[in-house]
Symmetry: none
Subunit: 325 residues, 3 copies
């Protein structure tokens, strides 16, 4: 399973992201375990990832190298499959090969008819007798550990203060994005279009959280790009609802750039805009939207400003429609 | 500039995201204005987006339709180019064409040698005399509006309480991701590999924010996938630093799924893991990392837990290296 | 090299685009030939695609299937490498495997220090003696054909207003693409596979416009890559229908590269090819296609040329099927 590593797979120093490698490992594991679970006649199924064991990144992989991923089924229990995956990096110019990763993954076969139903796994044939016993030990160990972690993960990172539905806090959302090569022009700054796409994505999530229906962009207010965003920045795109009319929602989106690897430069505002969204029925007709409940003074002020923009656009539209005298 | 709309360009109801259309508009604008600004001999430059005027989405575009984007330069000032872009959607099966968008964008030519230097724009030739005058009015109007917006955008969405460097709050980061078709299996739930890639991305941002150098994944603790993530969910991936040794950082990553369009189902924890990152010098050697300063009782508790995991792994590694008796 | 086919790899009917398959084929070819050309000590190089022989799509591939790509070096001349690539599709639920493609590609090693310098290729070791002789014949044949095509590509595809259905003007289409970092090799020129994917996309739009049904790539004529496309170019990919038989359409695709930021270099023809598409019913059976109406002298000439190619391929196929005397 060789694949050339591209600029988009790596950080600015040319090292391939661990996440890219984990994704390749999981794809190989999903293929081999789905194939195995369907190898006997019976109900068709798809293998879903249940657990990945501790994985060490033994040596870095670079842009231009070829990744080789090989996978093997090493144990099966009644309802799960253990897959071991090896990743080698090959420099095709010098011919050097290095072991980059060894990973162990556990999959569970889910029925295609009902993805909440776990099917039985056909037993694997072991080449050495001890393999089954060793596998069973790993199986029991991970089962125990899984049960333990279930309890450990109660809390959350961002303090969510249980906001009421229809408030600004309830739907507000932020997205961080690490600027990659394909986001950029050849000269190392982000295409305006890439920024706008992320802004619309955040606005859409705010709108969907607020009204929980199918929503579409109706318009975008003028967007000013105050400053360039350079390669290697982390950008934070934040959206909050500012105003609702009967059938539309206005969302303010702010883009801040944070030059993480450059200690001297401060985080700065790169762009901002107002997006208007409408909620659509299954037939594509606009639906009424739940009214926003502004709570703080700032939110009330922004609601009034939003109302002003809404009435201004409405007046302009009506003026255009009026018959000329 | 026709392009077929793909499943990933659209929401679950098949409507193309406004952001996808904005991205195509900007690409067309960037090409035509870069070409224009390089049409005379002189210093080579690239056109950077400075402003997009208010844009209405006149009719929805669907998966399978072909988008046609056409761009025209409508005005040039000494240092900026105005581009008008039209987007038509064509249903190639029925032949129906509809106007989807009209947009106006302003670009500024930046020198390729020094992207902070703005070059002069060759004048455009107008076919009608009034065009120049009308363009000048639009130019003055947007200039005025840009200056106003500069003042408007002071505040930020998430209350950042100016945390001290090296604290947990300073580097903690969250990412939201709207699950799209190419993230999913055919049966409508997210590939484990996609989730792991996003987890590594957040962990990397936390690590880079903490130590402001080039960082790479050294290992990942066991990851348990507590529950499937279904199509149409918004996933929030949050990362916070839990522990630092001399040359490594441990980051806890939590994945929560939020079924936005399904009012009945609650947000739930889908996966969690600990990532270990190291900081590398330009020669690829591990660097010392700034020590994490835990503040709250919870942070101190997590630091101790992290230290426990670190010492356990270290002991295991030394045991493997020790000669067997 | 297994890879699961995702929704974005396919058209609305679930058939994987020919362009996606061509891109995988080229990636496999680039890896094996770059590795071979660097197998002896000497100047480091990267293999650039020079030509793809006529390729038939023997059976469709669908979303959810796994593509297996295997590549082998079958001949080396002093300055070029011939690679044969096989693509199998595997349904991992049923276990069915089918041959989807056999392709032959020619690569040329370019020096990493100076990408305009062609290096020498280490000779391959043949397992049977006849192989070298057979390879030389293929080498001579393609060399002859390449020289001929150089002359053929003078003209360009220009838009015509309000064309009649079934004419060439009605379905002809152009796409422009700004070359970005992730389209390129490390040495700053576009991967052949990226170009082929775009060519197939345009051909598909032309075919769908003409017959307004679900269409799939049936074959691609030999593609010659006349010249490298460098980073920072805008490429224009134009397609026009040249010929229709009862159940197939032939589309000519031309690729022109335009170095927008470099005033001195002229727009040049980078590649060209003929794609054959068929129209499929919902059950996957070939449908009759509307007959093309050539209008101008050039269009009539191209129609006759297309008919010639069609009859030649048909005759060749019948000869293969005929029982040996």
């Amino acid at each position: 399973m060789p694949r050339i590593m591209r600029p988009d797979d790596a950080n600015v120093a040319g090292n391939v992201h661990g996440g890219t490698i984990l994704k390749m490992i999981e794809e190989a594991g999903a293929i081999i375990s789905t194939r195995h679970c369907n190898s006997q006649n019976g109900e068709r199924c798809v293998a879903a990832l249940a657990r990945v064991e501790r994985t060490d990144f033994l040596s870095p992989m670079c842009i231009g190298e070829v990744a080789h991923v090989s996978a093997e089924i090493t144990y099966t229990s009644r309802h799960s499959v253990e897959v071991q995956v090896h990743v080698m990096s090959e420099n095709i110019l010098t011919g050097t090969k290095k072991l980059t990763n060894k990973a162990t993954l556990w999959y569970v076969p889910l029925s295609l008819k009902n993805v909440d139903k776990v099917l039985e796994v056909p037993p694997v044939v072991y080449s050495r007798q001890e393999q089954e016993e060793e596998g069973r030990k790993r199986y029991e160990a991970q089962k125990l550990e899984r049960m333990e972690t279930k309890w450990r993960n109660g809390d959350i990172v961002q303090p969510i203060l249980n906001p009421e539905p229809n408030t600004v806090s309830y739907s507000q959302s932020s997205l961080i994005h690490l600027v990659g090569p394909s986001d950029c022009t050849l000269h190392g700054f982000v295409h305006g279009g890439v920024t706008m796409k992320l802004m619309d994505e955040v606005a859409g999530i705010v709108a969907a959280r607020h009204c929980k229906t199918n929503i579409v962009t109706a318009s975008v207010d003028a967007i000013n790009f105050h400053d360039k965003i350079r390669k290697g920045c982390v950008i934070t795109i934040s959206g909050r609802m500012t105003f609702t009319s009967n059938k539309s929602m206005e969302i303010e989106v702010l883009v801040d750039a944070d030059p993480v690897v450059d200690n001297l430069q401060k985080r700065y505002r790169a762009a901002s805009a107002f997006f208007t969204y409408v909620s659509l029925s299954q037939e594509g007709k606009p639906l009424p939207v739940p009214q926003l409940v502004p709570e703080t003074e700032d939110e009330k002020k922004r609601f009034e400003d939003g109302k002003g923009r809404y009435l201004q656009v409405k007046a302009k539209r009506q003026a255009q429609v009026e018959p000329q005298p």
